[in-house]
Amino acid sequence: MNIVVLVKQVPDTETERKLDPADSTVDRAASDGVINELDEYAIEEALRLKEKHGGEVTILTVGPEQATDSIRKALSMGADKAVHVCDDALAGSDALQTAYAIAQTLGTLEYDLVILGSESTDARTGVVGAALAEYLGLPQLTLANKVDVDGTSVKIQRQTDDGYQVVEATLPAVISVVEKINEPRYPSFKLIMAAKKKPVTKLSIAEAGIDADKVGLANATTQVVDFAPAPPRTAGTVVKDEGNGGVLIADFLASKKFV
């Protein structure tokens, strides 16, 4: 079974993240790039499915030159090869355009399953999986916390606020995962060394079959109109207990509509 895992490089959430005031895009030079956290869970799930059913795991990334760092890390977790769509024309693409670009690139690959994170930590639209399935005309199984493949069908547990739903589809399909699904492995030094020899195919948009008129900031379907940094945290309200502390706390919670 061949699996493609979508991996996005995002700014490290442990460092300060900024938007570029000039064009309202993410300032990628301002912080270290890391694999979007949920994508590590997607990679882990793909590796486990491969260990069970055989086949190959391919990493697919749409992103700038420095995304190679994240691709290397993904390969050193155990993936077999990678495709990196890297083209200046993609800069500023929004979620729909990214999904389009990924769909076109997948057209050049053979796969039974596409696994991705349910949401990125930077743009956080959570839209790519759904949009991608639409473009590909494939079933989408979202928010999976468990995946089972059986012959030509796949069954997942779809996480909800109060439990889970069981959703089933035929292959090929698109699955997005949540962090409950597994515990991603660390690379090892041997795998780091092995990753050096694994093939990474770099594609321009033309090579990936992506239409230049459909990607990039100028053609984006969404537009960032304005942005502002989150306001600094204000000091909390201190309730002094002079016998009526309980009442004051209840009043406070009521004023915030918690009770």
Partner: protein, 391 residues
């Protein structure tokens, strides 16, 4: 850790990043608890074993990482900065594999080394005895030949990983010749007659267990002797040359951790209306600490590079061990001074760092012994002035 490292390749740079990530996520959360309760963190070694750290400087053909000491020691420093007991443990494990890797026959290496380097097993190195520390040739533990076997009797002291290790590299007396009467043996932990006392109650490094190890008619096949009969002491001392570099690296990491803690604190803590780091008297103390840490690192990596090029490095290893551990003692003591009242409490890690630094001046040859080695080398007039091209 606030250190810029120059690594020889992308892969080794990735390895250092990985070790930082694993150390901060998987090791750091357990340090205070394990040290406080004197719990040996066996799982930490499994985690590092899976990454390939426990065999890093040994050849790939036996399952090692095939990396030079320059790389291994920088990885070890990263571990030491987060958890000294675990850093020392890794160094002792690597030390315990040295005899087999360097002096074992091809058959012996093929038979045991892959297991020792796999990351699943943990080793110990047994030289010291209750009455023979600095002077190991005074040892009395005996290995008596009995047909195809040796029978070991005696007591080893201060054994790191005693009672926890899966195998022991043991020096024992096969004749009365003081220094040429000692031989080296590989002893699996489950060999009958081998037992460990309860761990010593130490001042620091409490997560690492140090025990007496008793040999009571321990019978081992003669093919588990490493090297020739009588070669044991020179094997042991050669192993210590590389082991000292491991201790120097751990001490450097420990000192770096103390420095980082002190600088963080000094930038936040205010006295007389400004951060204490802006009082020159304190900034100079911190500057000396930073210089001491860098000096330790430089001395350690210099000796490593000599070793990696196959040049003599024994004197430089002693210098590195001496400088790195004396500096760690001073830096950790000064870190307590920077945090002052808070530093003296067990709510901050610096008092523990100070207790951990102390033992590094003692084991793998006390710092008096290091000076003795360096002095002897100078007395021999043996300082070379070779210029070679690093390979």
């Amino acid at each position: 850790m606030s250190v810029t490292r120059l690594m020889p390749s992308q892969e080794t740079a990735d390895l250092v990043e990985l070790v930082r990530e694993v150390a901060s996520r998987e090791l750091a959360p357990h340090v205070a608890e394990a040290e406080e309760t004197e719990r040996f963190p066996r799982e930490a070694f499994r985690t590092l074993g899976k990454l390939g750290i426990l065999g890093l400087p040994y050849p790939e053909e036996y399952g090692g990482g095939g990396q030079p000491y320059e790389v291994y020691l920088q990885v070890l420093e990263e571990i030491g900065a987060v958890w000294a007991s675990v850093g020392v443990g890794v160094s002792v494990h690597v030390l315990s594999c040295y005899a087999l890797a360097v002096y074992g026959t091809e058959a012996q290496r093929q038979r045991w080394l892959p297991d020792l380097l796999s990351g699943d097993l943990l080793g110990a190195y047994c030289l010291s005895e209750p009455h023979a520390g600095s002077d190991p040739a005074a040892m009395t533990t005996r290995a008596r030949r009995d047909g195809d076997h040796y029978i070991l009797d005696g007591v080893k002291a201060w054994i790191t990983h005693g009672g926890q290790a899966d195998f022991y590299t043991v020096m024992a007396r096969t004749s009365d010749d003081r220094s040429h009467g000692i031989s080296c043996f590989l002893v699996p932990a489950d060999t009958p007659g081998l037992s460990a006392d309860r761990p010593e109650r130490k001042m620091g490094l409490t997560g690492s267990h140090t025990t007496m190890l008793r040999f009571d008619g321990v019978r081992i096949p003669a093919h588990q002797r490493i090297g020739a009969e009588g070669q044991g002491l020179s094997i042991a001392l050669s192993a210590l040359d590389s082991g000292r570099l491991g201790i120097a690296a751990v001490a450097t990491g420990l000192a770096q951790a103390a420095l980082d803690t002190a600088v963080d604190y000094a930038r936040q803590r205010e006295a007389f209306g400004k951060p204490i780091i802006e009082h020159q008297g304190l900034a100079f103390l911190l500057a000396d600490m930073a210089a001491a840490v860098e000096t330790a690192r430089a001395a350690t990596l210099r000796a490593a590079r000599l070793k990696d090029c196959g040049l003599p490095y024994s004197t430089e290893a002693s210098i590195a061990k001496l400088v790195a551990t004396d500096n760690a003692m001073r830096v950790t003591t000064d870190a307590v001074q920077v945090l002052s009242g808070y530093g003296y409490t067990r709510d901050f890690p610096v008092e523990r760092y100070m207790r951990e630094a102390k033992v590094m001046q003692i084991f793998e040859g006390t710092n008096q012994i290091q000076r003795m080695i360096i002095g002897r080398h100078l007395a021999r007039g043996a300082t070379g002035s070779t210029v070679v091209v690093a390979s």
